[in-house]
Symmetry: C2
């Protein structure tokens, strides 16, 4: 493809973003571009919809369609469920009006089509007497009409996917999936329909492979996959290998169009692309950015925009041990920044307020917020109690200064005192009735955390479009090492799916890779984490998190093994942890930590259920969009027992 | 059936609960019962498992099995997924060890079986290369062995059901579903497998009816349905009519065994039962109570325990307008009391602390908590601010006194003052950077609500096994009329699925029907609700909720229409509300209220996502176990627009 095309197409992207071009300017640009456009140019509409806001999505689609019409390309392809806006949660069952509306908007859009076809995802009604009420569908529009509708066959319903809650599975109907694009015949595939290759996967979820059926029965010139596929650690590696494998196996190019943008907890990274019939990547759109991406399926030299740094390195080693965070840091950064930006934009917020403790979590959150919302829209508030060290206060102030966000310091000692006095009176009287007061409670720790959250929510109540931020990280969420109505409370939790060891790596990475280097004070990265809510009686200093829990390197490896390998306590006793390679751990100590992990995790489950929305980043998470653990399931045995023990127990009880 | 059987069986229920009988006493009881036991007696094991606690469930199952063995009945039937413990959330995917364990416990249990068969639900592995990892299965155990395993075919995956997230659908395999019970042949059905009759339902979710297939191909003498079917408003009516219809249609008796007890948000009411081949109900177990329920399928006169009062009345009119709360009040009361009891028991808590405002919500919560946990385990704390009226303080005190729960009054004026002083200082400085302070904010209202929650969580931190209670109701949850980290914060939210008008009815019902009458002061039932967090400038008195929102009778009807009829604003404009029959409402006023409803609802969605666990009670709910609305979906148009408007909009934008 002529490079000129991509240079000029950037002007289209700008117009789609800002609508600043006049009709005459648009005509001029189109005229210029047509000089270089190949005969069979098609457009991948890598766009960012809003869930349920069908009018917004339709209006956006039309702008893109008009550009495609103007250029006279063969087709413009939008992602899965674009019109209704993915993710849909459960609203289409409770509010069928949204589905009615998305069909009418589709019909209205069709009226604006020419012989430049439009392929676009929407939700259709299933009017049969049997099955779910809806289909997950793609429409082909051309010359003012809806030419055909294709329904999705494979309905993912695991982790973050809920297709089978709402949609009926359709037969593949390979003939109906074929549409003429210029003088070529393209086969339409909808997301998961393309993820069930029997040779690529060891185990398959479904009995049918729509790709194979379409290829074998219809011999299309190429396949178009309309997707809404979320980004996660290790997913790009899997996706690239799978798509390349399928294209090569079927000797059929694959055009893959992905959504971009974030919807609440799920993030779509774009990176739409083309594989040729040998499985080679021949074009790739930008990551984390809308793009009107022009490709020619026959062109072996399309533009290849880079993936986030680090991902290419590991592209062929999807099973690499993921505690090596480095290859995933830019993707993590971009995912969270996009999530914050879209969460605020799509919910109508603009400003963020957070507590700056001088610790790692709030520091990383502040940087991510500043990059997503602009420094002027972030307010960091340092709220020291009597336990807070002067180092922490300085670190908070330095960070805010380096970063350029707004900053104030407000001590909370008086709020603590009035609450404590009240508690002394109340608890003294209550003891007369309830003789079960803890000797060592977390009450004082929590008063501090809750006073701070009261201040932050107060700010959010007082200033327009302002949201308070929860700074909990994933390691602490697992351990329940966060205060309800305290640090885990907020309107959004940017790093709740990032473990502590990864946060350290991310902090260093941001210091090296952001435009402004080293905004995070070195002392924040070097000091050992602690909530500074209580004094450790043994040391006389603020209690460190690792003293209360276990070493973070060990903890994070347990999390990784649980989420990805589904290991039991016994399984983990039997393998050597990375941590153990550096620091020997006795079997007793290891067992104690593992048991503590599962004991604390079982109690933390309640806190997971009330965590604010948070971007899903890791390969697997405890985000409730993906994983729901019954709070009452506190008696699970995470260590296998033998058949003999079981029989003996039943015999004797 | 001889009535003596049921009298004596109550001793078995007591032994199963308390394990107080010696072996000799058990033998004597069994000997006595055998005198009256019919030849073909079978036992429905209406028992209460704990999610994931397989050891507990196996131990409980064995106790029940031993009693069945001792009586020499033909079979004892447990509910669906009894061994692994329903509901399972997502833990079986992340922790496959639980499934391994439930299979080994099943094998261990089998060793204790005699020629008294055992039919019991468990989760099995799907070892095929295709499909989900697990089956939702029922095992038949006899004479020390697993005789057969039946896999569920129809996998519900809507609302509170998530079967297809984890389980593979199996073919019906009708022959494998038949097991000999004495000289009869029974066909095994698993829950949803029995809910797809093509004649009973207007629309069916699945293409196959396992009941029909089993009956037509195998001609069993009767069907056994192992269920875990939750209670909801109107569900008993549907269930009774459907089971009766199927038994009659197929001229085949149906034995329906249901779980009892509550799991987090879902409640199972038991009421296991038998329908004869004419569709007549011939036996019914207790509701909301474990029961070792002995029946004889051929006996037309089994024991029929009553359903909650009110349900029978409406048994044949399932479509009755459900804003008539009266027929559902005892069921509502029993469901919530069971939920509280089981949530506390299964999570290891014992005591509850709640704020008593003198208003309806906290009053009703206090009564329900006292009935579930015992008065001595409930602490009501009145926390008046300067806005709190003396009437409210008196009502709180009177209620606690009448009810016999622990009570203290602690004013929060000083906590408010110190926070307000801090806010004045902070906001003054912040304004210099952020010139966007609201003229009228909810900041002061929320300081009060948050100070109260800080006190309640402090109590929960300080006293053993104590949980704080969120008192939000359903009407207010819909309107977001609750404070984050305030009244909507707590470890459990007993009435979050009960609308305000139903709460008034429930309060009256409890005053009339509890052992101790009229514990709720009449003034609580008579006064109009208000949060007493702000003064209405127009009246100079505390702002009433209906002044801030809309009349509760109107609001609750909107909720009902949205949840059950899926109506749009336009649909609702066109029908006459019950409220309108008494109080005429102008079209403008109605439209304003409806638009306010959807506007407030769209903003309240974030609050739904962090609501604590709450019992699902109503026919439909916003409990996140059942319904998830993306927070970013704030642009949904709840009012239909015409095709012409859409076209014109696209043309002009």
């Amino acid at each position: 493809m002529n490079k000129k095309i991509y240079e000029l197409a950037e002007l289209i992207d700008k117009d789609l973003e800002n609508s600043l071009m006049s009709e005459a300017e648009k005509d001029d640009l189109a005229k210029e571009m047509k000089k270089y456009l190949p005969e069979n140019a098609i457009v991948l509409a890598q766009a960012n919809p809003i869930s349920g806001n069908v009018k917004y999505n339709a209006q956006k689609a039309l702008k893109w369609i008009k550009w495609a019409n103007r250029l006279g390309v063969k087709v413009i392809v939008f992602p899965e469920l674009f019109l209704i806006g993915y993710p849909i949660g459960d609203f289409i069952d409770r509010f069928p009006v949204v589905v009615e509306e998305n069909i009418e908007w589709l019909q209205a859009l069709a009226k604006f089509t020419t012989d430049t076809k439009v392929i676009i995802g929407f939700a259709d009604f299933n009017k049969n007497k049997v099955g779910k009420n809806y289909y997950n569908s793609v429409a082909v529009l051309a010359n003012g009409k809806i030419e055909r509708v294709v329904h999705k066959t494979l309905l993912p319903n695991y982790a973050e996917f809920n297709d089978y809650r709402h949609f009926e599975s359709a037969l593949v109907e390979s003939e109906n999936r074929i549409t003429a694009i210029g003088d070529k015949r393209a086969g339409i595939i909808i997301c998961e329909d393309g993820w069930n290759d029997f040779d690529f996967f060891d185990k398959n979820l479904y009995a049918v492979d729509p790709v194979e059926e379409v290829v074998k029965k219809q011999h299309p010139d190429y396949l178009i996959n309309c997707s809404a596929s979320i980004t996660r650690a290790k997913k790009e590696q899997l996706k690239h290998n799978m798509l390349s494998f399928a294209a090569k196996k079927h000797k059929t190019p694959i055009v893959y169009v992905n959504q971009v943008g974030s919807g609440e907890c799920l993030s779509f990274e774009g990176a739409s692309r083309v594989y040729d019939a040998d499985g080679n990547l021949t074009a790739m759109a930008k990551s984390y950015s809308e793009q009107f991406f022009i490709v020619d399926v026959d062109d072996k030299n399309g533009q290849i925009n880079p993936l986030p740094k680090g991902l290419e390195k590991t592209l062929n080693s999807q099973k690499a041990f993921s505690l090596d965070h480095e290859p995933d840091l830019e993707r993590t950064y971009l995912t969270i920044v996009q999530s914050i930006k879209d969460y605020f934009k799509k919910t109508g917020f603009k400003r963020a307020v957070l507590g700056l403790s001088g610790g790692l979590d709030s520091t990383v959150c502040a940087v991510l917020l500043a990059d997503a919302l602009g420094e002027e829209n972030v307010f960091g508030i340092s709220m020291p109690s009597r336990i807070t060290s002067s180092e922490s206060k300085n670190d908070a102030r330095d960070l805010a200064h380096n970063l350029g966000i707004n900053f104030l310091e407000i001590p909370i000692g008086d709020m603590f005192d009035v609450t404590r006095t009240k508690f002394d009176e109340l608890f003294g009287k209550m003891e007369e009735r309830w003789n079960c007061r803890y000797k060592n409670s977390y009450t004082n720790d929590n008063i501090q955390a809750r006073a701070r959250a009261t201040i932050l929510w107060g700010v959010a109540n007082e200033f327009e479009k302002c949201l308070s931020i929860a700074t909990s990280d994933k390691s602490e969420a697992y351990m329940g090492y966060a205060t309800i109505n305290g640090d885990m409370s907020g309107g959004f939790a940017p790093i709740a799916d990032v473990t502590k060891t990864k946060l350290f790596a991310l902090a260093k990475w941001m210091n090296e890779n952001r435009k402004v280097k080293n905004v995070i004070p070195q002392s924040v990265i070097e000091k050992r984490p602690g909530a500074e809510l209580a004094i450790n009686p043994k040391t006389g200093k603020p209690l460190l998190a690792e003293e209360a829990l276990m070493p973070y390197e060990f903890l994070d490896e347990v999390i990784w093994r649980v989420e990805n390998l589904h290991q039991t306590i016994g399984d983990m006793i039997d393998v050597e942890f990375l941590y153990e390679k550096k620091t020997p751990v006795s079997k007793e100590q290891k067992k104690e930590w593992l048991e503590k992990f599962f004991r604390r995790m079982s109690f933390a489950v309640y806190k997971w259920s009330i965590l604010p929305p948070a971007p899903v980043v890791d390969a697997r998470s405890i985000n409730k969009t993906e994983y729901r653990h019954p709070i009452i399931a506190s008696g699970i045995n995470f260590n296998k027992t033998s058949a003999e023990e079981k029989y003996a127990f039943l015999l004797n009880n």
